[in-house]
C-alpha cells in the first residue's frame, strides 16, 4: 500500500477535480474522524466531497494509480465503524450526491444518488401513495448508499425484507473507475447475482453511485398492540406463538424492564412499568385483514400470559406507542454516560435461553444491559451500559459484547444482523467462519479490488489475525482486545 504524502495526494487530486471539494486541514477533517461508532477515531490523509459521478471516477482513478486506500462514507450513521477512515488513505464522502433522479410512479421505482436520505425517498413517494419499505432507526439521517453497503434492516423487515429485497439496480464504480450496472428495472438479470452481493458488502467491492429502489403501495391501515409480560421468557415464547399462528406482523419488537423504565422516564409513552418485558406487534394491510389478525394476535398474547394489552385505536395512539420503542436508545443513553449496542441474530426459539445468559453476563461483569430488539426476526440489540471515564469499563463492555456475540454464534446465529462487521466485529468473524470461508471471502474481494484499496482492514479478518486470536482464546478463554493492534 502507498506511502503517498498528504501534499502529494492533494496535488495529484487537485489536477483531476476542483480544489474546493478536497479537505486537507486537520480542523476540517475532524468531523469525519468517526462514524456512529465513536469509540474508534482516525483522521484520514484527505477527504473528498465530490459533487457528481465524474468526480468520483477521477478520484478513484487517481487513488488507484497512486495506490492510496479509499474509504467511502455516506451520512456516517453506521454503528460498526465501517466508515472509519484509514490513516494513510482518502475518505470519499458522498453526501453531496443527493439528488432524486427519477420517480416512476407507474413502475413503482425511484432512481436516486447514494447520498439521498432514506426518509427522503418515502417523502418523495408519498404523494403517489407509495413508500420505501426499509426503515432503519436512523432513517432521518442515514443515506441510501450506506443502506445498500450495510444491507440495512429496520423494524419492518420481518414482513418487507431488508435493503437487498428492495433494490433493483446499483451503479457501481470499481476501484479502476469503471462503471458497472448491476441488476436493472427488469427482474433477475442474467449472470451471477452481483446485485445481491453488493448489498451488505460494506464498501469493500466498489463505490455505489446510483441506486434504483422498489417502492410499495402504502398499506391501507396499520394497528399496533402493546403487551406486558411478567416474565421475559413468556414474551419470548409469545413471539414464536404469533409466528407459529401463521401471522407475519409488519413489526414485532421487544423491550425489557430496564429499557421500559428508561423510556418511561424519558418520554412516558405509557408502557407498563411493572412488566418484565413488553412486546409491540404491528399489523398492516387491508382493514378487514388487520382486524382478523389483531384478534388472533391478542388471543396468542393472552394465552402466553400477557398481563396487559393495549391496542391502538387511532393513528396518533399507534405513533405514540411506537415512540417508546423508537426513543429507546436515546432513553437508555440518559441513564448512563455511554452504551455499547450489540447486533447479534439468533433463531427465535433460542431467545429465552440467550436472554437468560445475557443477564448472567451482566451480573458477572457488573454492567447493566438493556435489551431492545427486533424479536420477530431474532435480531438482538443488547445495550451494554458503561462509563467511558471509569477506568477499564469500556474494555469490560467490549469483552461482554464479544461474549454476547459468541453466545449468538453458538446458538446458531450470527454476529451481526444489520449493523455490519466494519471495524468493530472483525474479531468475532473468526468465531463464525472457518479459514476456508474467510479465504473465499478474500478471493471474492480480490475479483473486484485486486490491490485491496477499498476499505482496507474491515469486514473480513485476515487468517493471520484469526490464528493469533484463536491461540490467545484457548489460553485465556477471553478475548484480550486491548492487547491487539486494530488493523
Amino acid at each position: 500500500m502507498s506511502t503517498v504524502s498528504k501534499s502529494q495526494l492533494l496535488e495529484e487530486l487537485a489536477q483531476a477535480v476542483p480544489r474546493e471539494i478536497l479537505i486537507d486541514s486537520e480542523e476540517a477533517l475532524h468531523p469525519f474522524e468517526c462514524d456512529g461508532l465513536s469509540v474508534y477515531r482516525q483522521l484520514p490523509l484527505l477527504a473528498a466531497l465530490p459533487e457528481n459521478t465524474r468526480q468520483v471516477r477521477e478520484i478513484l482513478r487517481c487513488c488507484r494509480r497512486l495506490g492510496v486506500p479509499v474509504v467511502t462514507r455516506g451520512a456516517g450513521t453506521g454503528l460498526s465503524g465501517g466508515a472509519l477512515p484509514f490513516a494513510g488513505g482518502l475518505l470519499l464522502v458522498l453526501t453531496r450526491l443527493n439528488r432524486i433522479l427519477e420517480l416512476d410512479a407507474a413502475a413503482r421505482t425511484v432512481r436516486v444518488e447514494p447520498g439521498v436520505r432514506n426518509l427522503a425517498v418515502s417523502e418523495a413517494a408519498a404523494p403517489h401513495g407509495l413508500y420505501y419499505a426499509p426503515d432503519p432507526s436512523s432513517q432521518i439521517a442515514c443515506s441510501i448508499g450506506g443502506n445498500v453497503a450495510e444491507n440495512s434492516g429496520g423494524v419492518h423487515c420481518l414482513k418487507y425484507g431488508l435493503t437487498v429485497h428492495n433494490v433493483l439496480e446499483v451503479r457501481l464504480l470499481t476501484i479502476d473507475g469503471e462503471e458497472l450496472v448491476l441488476g436493472g428495472p427488469a427482474l433477475d438479470a442474467p449472470g451471477y447475482d452481483l446485485l445481491a452481493l453488493i448489498n451488505g458488502s460494506e464498501g469493500m467491492l466498489g463505490v455505489i453511485t446510483e441506486v434504483l429502489l422498489r417502492l410499495l403501495p402504502i398499506p391501507e391501515t396499520a394497528q399496533v398492540v402493546l403487551a406486558g409480560f411478567a416474565r421475559i421468557e413468556d414474551a419470548a415464547e409469545a413471539v414464536g406463538g404469533i409466528i407459529g399462528a401463521g401471522i407475519v406482523p409488519a413489526g414485532l419488537e421487544m423491550m425489557d424492564r430496564l429499557s421500559v423504565e428508561a423510556v418511561e422516564s424519558f418520554i412516558a409513552p405509557g408502557y407498563p412499568r411493572d412488566a418484565e418485558a413488553v412486546l409491540l406487534c404491528e399489523l398492516d394491510g387491508g382493514q378487514a385483514e388487520v382486524e382478523e389478525q389483531m384478534q388472533a394476535v391478542n388471543e396468542v398474547l393472552s394465552a402466553h400470559g400477557a398481563t396487559s394489552l393495549r391496542v391502538s385505536q387511532s393513528e396518533a395512539e399507534r405513533l405514540g406507542l411506537w415512540a417508546g420503542r423508537k426513543n429507546a436508545f436515546p432513553a437508555v443513553g440518559r441513564i448512563m454516560p455511554d452504551y455499547y449496542c450489540m447486533d447479534g441474530t439468533i433463531p427465535r426459539r433460542e431467545l429465552p435461553r440467550v436472554l437468560r445468559e445475557i443477564s448472567v453476563l451482566s451480573k458477572q461483569h457488573g454492567l447493566r444491559i438493556a435489551n431492545v430488539f427486533h424479536a420477530g426476526d431474532g435480531n438482538l440489540h443488547p445495550l451494554i451500559l458503561y462509563d467511558a471515564n471509569a477506568p477499564g469499563e469500556l474494555e469490560t463492555a467490549e469483552r461482554v459484547g464479544a461474549e454476547i456475540l459468541s453466545l449468538c454464534v453458538k446458538a446458531g446465529g450470527t454476529v451481526t444482523g444489520e449493523h455490519g462487521v466494519g471495524m468493530e466485529k472483525i474479531d468475532s468473524m473468526c468465531e463464525q467462519f472457518e479459514d476456508g470461508e474467510l479465504e473465499q471471502f478474500h478471493a471474492l474481494k480480490a475479483a473486484f479490488d485486486p490491490d485491496g484499496l477499498l476499505n482496507p482492514g474491515k469486514a473480513v479478518p485476515t487468517l493471520h489475525r484469526c490464528a493469533e486470536l484463536g491461540a490467545m482464546h484457548v489460553h485465556g478463554n477471553r478475548l484480550p482486545f486491548p492487547d491487539l493492534p486494530r488493523f
Binding site: D104, G129, E150, N151, G161, V164, H165, L180, V181, G184, P185, A186, L187, D188, P190, G191, Y192, D193, L194, A196, L197, G200, L205, P217, P219, E220, I243, G246, V248, G285, G286, A288, E289, E292, T345, P347, R348, H374, D377, G378, N379, G412, G413, T414, V415, T416, G417, V421, M429, Q432, F433, G436, E437, E439, F441, A443, L444, K445, A447, V460
Partner: protein
C-alpha cells in the same frame, strides 16, 4: 441421506486431476443447461430435510431433496416457499432449483428465490466444503455468498445444502378473469399494482387477463368486489399449468423469456405470448430473428433468455456489457479457479 463425504471425495479427485465435472440432480431442467463437458457429479442422493421448525419460518435441506417432498413437508404445517418455484418435472431437486434460480407467478409481489435464500453449504472449486449465511433472517456477516448461488447454475460450486425462509400459506386465494387486450391489461396492472391490493399473480393471454388475490377471506372478497371481473373456479390448476409450463403453448417451439420493466409497451414478435408478473415477464414462442428479439428486449430496458430449445450459435443468455462479463469471470475464478464445475454453462468464453 448424507452423502457429503462421497461427494467431497469425488470433487477432490476431480480437482487433483483437473477433470471437469457436470453437476446434476434430477435433470428436470436439463433443457436449460447448455451442452457441457465433464464427469457427471450426481447430487440427487444427498437428500433429506435436515431441519424444519415451523415456528422459525426456516427450513434446511440437502440439495438432492425432491422439491415435491419439501413442498409437502411445508404444506403439512400450512407453510410454503413464497416464490412458488416451478419444478418442471417430478424429479426436480431443491439444489437444481437454487442453481437455476427460477421463481414462479408470485415473484413480483412475494419476491424471488434468492430473496428467500438464507444460507448454503457448498463445495468450491478448491475442493473445500464451506458454509455461508445461516438459518436466521438477518445476517450481514461476510459477503452474501448464499444469494450469489441462486441462478449460478452450479458454476461456482456444488450446492450441498440450502436454508430458506418460508412463510404461512395464504388463507384464501381467488382468481378473477377480465376480457381485455394486452395494452389495456398492462395499464390496468400498473394501476392496480400501485394500490394496496392483495395481488399475488397475473397472466395475460389471448385477450384475457387473469389476476390472483391472496390473503384473508374478507380481504380478498372485498378486493375482488372492487376490481370487478369474473370469478374463476378451481384456478389452482390454471396457475400450476402456467408455472410448470404444462400449457401447450410453452412447448410449441423455441421459447423466449423476456424480462422487462413491467410498464414496457407490448412487444410484437408476430406470435402469441403470455404476459406474467404484472408485465415484468413475457413469454414468446417464436422463430423470429434472435438478434431482433434481444434488441427489442434491450431497447425496452430488459433482456431475453432463450429458455427452451436451441438455436445454433445463439447463446442462451442475454449478452452482458464487457466489463461486467469480465468481472463475472473473475468471480467464477474466485470460487472455481480451474473452471471445473459445469464448464461453459453460464458465461461461455468466446
Amino acid at each position: 441421506m448424507d452423502r457429503e463425504d462421497v461427494i467431497l471425495e469425488q470433487v477432490l479427485e476431480a480437482v487433483e486431476a483437473r477433470t471437469p465435472v457436470a453437476i446434476h440432480g434430477g435433470a428436470s431442467k436439463a433443457f436449460y443447461a447448455q451442452p457441457r463437458s465433464g464427469e457427471p457429479l450426481d447430487l440427487s442422493g444427498h437428500a433429506g430435510i435436515v431441519e424444519y421448525d415451523p415456528g422459525e419460518l426456516v427450513v434446511t435441506c440437502r440439495a438432492g431433496t425432491p422439491l415435491a417432498e419439501l413442498r409437502q413437508a411445508l404444506a403439512e404445517h400450512g407453510q410454503h416457499l413464497p416464490f412458488e418455484p416451478p419444478a418442471f418435472g417430478e424429479k426436480a431437486t431443491v439444489g437444481g432449483t437454487v442453481a437455476c434460480g427460477f421463481s414462479g407467478p408470485r415473484r413480483p409481489w412475494a419476491g424471488s428465490l434468492r430473496d428467500y435464500l438464507l444460507g448454503v453449504r457448498i463445495i468450491n472449486g478448491r475442493g473445500k466444503a464451506l458454509r455461508f449465511g445461516g438459518q436466521v433472517m438477518k445476517n450481514v456477516a461476510g459477503y452474501d455468498v448464499s444469494r450469489l448461488m441462486a441462478g449460478s447454475l452450479g458454476t461456482l460450486g456444488a450446492i450441498l445444502e440450502t436454508s430458506f425462509k418460508v412463510l404461512p400459506k395464504p388463507l384464501r386465494e381467488r382468481t378473477l378473469r377480465f376480457e381485455m387486450e394486452q395494452r389495456e391489461a398492462l395499464g390496468q396492472l400498473a394501476k392496480w399494482s400501485g394500490k394496496p391490493l392483495p395481488l399475488s399473480a397475473s397472466c395475460w393471454r389471448d385477450g384475457q387477463l387473469f389476476l390472483r388475490l391472496s390473503g384473508a377471506e374478507r380481504e380478498t372478497a372485498r378486493a375482488a368486489e372492487s376490481l370487478g371481473g369474473e370469478a374463476v373456479d378451481e384456478a389452482d390448476a390454471f396457475w400450476r399449468e402456467l408455472r410448470e409450463h404444462e400449457d401447450e403453448f410453452f412447448s410449441s417451439g423455441p421459447l423466449w423469456r423476456l424480462s422487462l420493466p413491467p410498464t414496457a409497451e407490448p412487444i410484437d414478435l408476430d406470435t402469441p405470448c403470455r404476459v406474467e408478473w404484472g408485465g415484468a415477464q413475457r413469454w414468446y414462442v417464436t422463430k423470429a430473428n434472435p438478434e431482433r428479439i434481444r434488441a427489442a428486449a434491450a431497447s425496452a430496458g430488459g433482456h431475453a433468455t432463450l429458455f427452451r430449445g436451441d438455436i445454433d450459435d445463439i447463446p442462451r443468455f442475454h449478452p452482458q456489457a464487457k466489463g461486467l462479463q469480465q468481472l463475472q469471470e473473475r468471480v467464477r475464478e474466485a470460487f472455481d479457479p480451474y473452471g471445473l464445475f459445469n464448464r461453459g454453462l453460464l458465461a461461455p468464453k468466446r
